[in-house]
Symmetry: C2
């Protein structure tokens, strides 16, 4: 007997037949003795339809009114799923974000959840009902409808699980868990049974796009066990997927959990910059003013008299814009020049075990050297090592690392 | 300078182009110095789309969840109209029924408005905004979403006009007003400039389907001047249409305002019923138990010893069902038999002037007699006379009465 929050995304509720399948899955969970709260997204395609309507008037649409429009998408799904449940004999009630007082700030289109009132939901659960809540939406203190931005339904689910003190938050999607790396590149990639919040954050931000980062942060902050599973597996089987939880819950931790990669970045280097205070601020300030996000930043110790090379990466979409900003900046700073490259890939080893195991970085560099892969940038954190290499080495590098760190074997259990 | 509530139905907001036209009309009203509150329906076709989705699960759908679903239709329109207004430089804000606290009872799918909080709307109007409110919907005291049933957007508009003490409530539709009778039958039929609430109620319930009856009742109760106009006329012209208001406002009242007719009825007579207390209750009780609405009821004074004929009309859709109920009932009552006829039409003269003019009914009977039209049933109220005749006399009867009572001439002004 526990309380489970389940979240189903747009493809899982794409049409009445799939909504009916979701209802079966919810009822199966209830039959196991659990209370169930369900969070759903808009039926896939619906959000695009609404966006197209709005763009007949304004591009981008006025934020407040755009939220009023978009919020209808999930409202349709909650009513249909409740009808499906009721028609199958399971009492249910649907609620919009504002109806269960998902209080957010007033940042329309990208609001943040501040508070949730759990009274109404608990009252329904006590009556034996399944509670169906619209994901992605809330209301600010003045009652204006807000939306949480892309992937916001995951965040709604985790926030509800935290508010309700749920035993588990299950995110149903079209993949059956988090893998050691992308199975399209390494067929031997293994689904992880468990992974820590920190590792998941590193994996997610580096390109394993299974979960919305904000929802993982939220789950970590409020200690909500989070499970990623497929909504297309056998309904009666015990749910597996990947459990994302705290380090304490994972008994025997592997040194390395997985390998993430990101080929959406581009690299820029300002050569021969005078090595004095304020240089990094000068270059990155101009980039930030243009609303461009910077990922890795590396500055070498200056070798010759008072000059240094300054390198950073941005999203490829911002590459050309960043180039012109940096060229301007380099002239002002009397730098020797700018070199840039958008044929790069970032490979990252992620694992909390790194903390207690020395030599992970050097082993990684050796594996890449053995394959004649030249490393262009290095950046490390407590639980990851990232390198930038030529894009053509993506598959070779990931496969070599996957083998070298024994990720295909079931070492995590 | 006044406060105008305007309501636009589904065909007036059927697509982005028409929504843009509505925005122009709203802005033109504002430019004349008025504050404007707009009530809109769902885009035409949208409600049918939602009903079809719901019916994949249940028929009829669970009432509470059906309301959650249907309410999204108007929510889409309010956001799009607000975007259209803002994109044209007119500040605007959209509100769902629950956001402006349109408090209703909990009768899902056919809720009644109990109260409206006007504070938020007045605050926006004071800031120079147009306020756009979703028609047809509200929320009950527990925050559950409710809908008002067919034509509910008219009722929302009138209720808002009453709560805001608006100077006028304008219902935009695809006809340009209320006519003395159906112009398809009498080409000389004249648009009335003014008509009283009571007359409109009689006209509406008798088949002139321009306005939802409940909205007229509401307008009458709270004394809200109501104007019916076309949303397809010149935007800069002074709005004409038909003003529905109190008797005091109409200086020189014509004796007869209009002729209504209804060919959706069927007639049933129970012959030779013992004339004793409880008979009417016995027959109509069984009919009411089957949820069948009865319109006209006539019972003749019994001529022979203790027997009478009892006649009433129902909607044609209920004709066969009513026949079998009444036949059963007639046997139990030892009546002589049942005769029924669904080839009838009800013609009604409507006018508050009848109160002070004797002889209207007898003149009506004479006109019909002159055309050899046999009258089957008669029913009168303070401001109307209705007769049931053979359906084939519909056009002949209406035209003869229209001429005899000088309705084509502009006698109402």
């Amino acid at each position: 007997m526990g309380l489970i929050v389940q979240k189903y995304g747009g493809t899982s509720v794409a049409n009445p037949e799939r909504i009916s399948n979701v209802a079966n899955r919810v009822i199966a969970t209830q039959k196991k003795g659990h209370d169930v709260v369900v969070v759903v997204s808009a039926m896939s395609g619906e959000t695009n339809r609404l966006v197209a309507l709005a763009e007949q008037f304004q591009k981008p649409p006025i934020a407040r009114e755009f939220d009023v429009l978009l919020a209808t998408g999930e409202q349709v799904t909650i009513s249909l799923l409740s009808m499906a449940l009721i028609s199958k004999g399971q009492d249910a009630r649907s609620y919009t974000g504002s109806q269960v007082h998902i209080l957010t700030d007033s940042a329309h289109n990208k609001a943040r959840i501040l508070d949730i009132d759990d009274k109404r939901i608990h009252a329904d659960l006590n009556e034996g009902r399944v509670v169906v809540v619209a994901g992605f939406q809330g209301a600010d203190e003045y009652g204006n409808i807000t939306t949480l931005g892309r992937g916001g339904s995951d965040t709604t689910a985790v926030a509800l699980a935290a508010a309700l003190k749920a035993d588990e938050c299950q995110i149903y999607t079209d993949v059956d868990g988090v893998y050691t790396t992308d199975p399209r590149i390494v067929p031997e990639a293994r689904r992880m049974d468990k992974i820590t919040f920190e590792e998941m954050l590193e994996m997610a931000s580096l390109g394993a796009k299974v979960l919305q980062i904000r929802s993982v942060e939220f789950a970590s902050k409020y200690n909500v066990p989070l499970r990623v599973l497929s909504s297309f597996t056998d309904i009666d089987a015990e749910p597996k997927g990947t459990l994302i939880t705290t380090e304490d819950e994972i008994m025997e931790q592997a040194v390395i959990s997985g390998i993430a990669f990101n080929k959406d970045e581009a690299k820029l280097t300002v050569l021969g910059v005078p090595d004095k205070p304020g240089i990094a601020y000068h270059i990155l300030g101009d980039v930030a003013d243009a609303n461009i996000e910077v990922d890795m930043i590396v500055q070498n110790i200056s070798e010759d008299s008072g000059h240094t090379d300054f390198t950073f990466t941005v999203h490829r979409n911002d590459f050309e814009k960043t180039q012109s900003i940096v060229k301007n900046c380099a002239e002002q700073l009397n730098a020797k020049g700018v070199v840039s490259d958008n044929n790069i890939v970032k490979l990252s080893l992620v694992g909390v075990g790194m903390r207690s195991h020395a030599g992970i970085a050097s082993k990684m560099f050796q594996v890449l050297a053995d394959e004649n892969i030249n490393i262009q940038m290095i950046s490390t954190s407590e639980i990851k090592v990232s390198v930038v290499v030529d894009e053509k080495y993506l598959e070779l590098g990931v496969r070599a690392l996957h083998v070298a760190f024994d990720l295909a074997e079931d070492s995590a259990e």
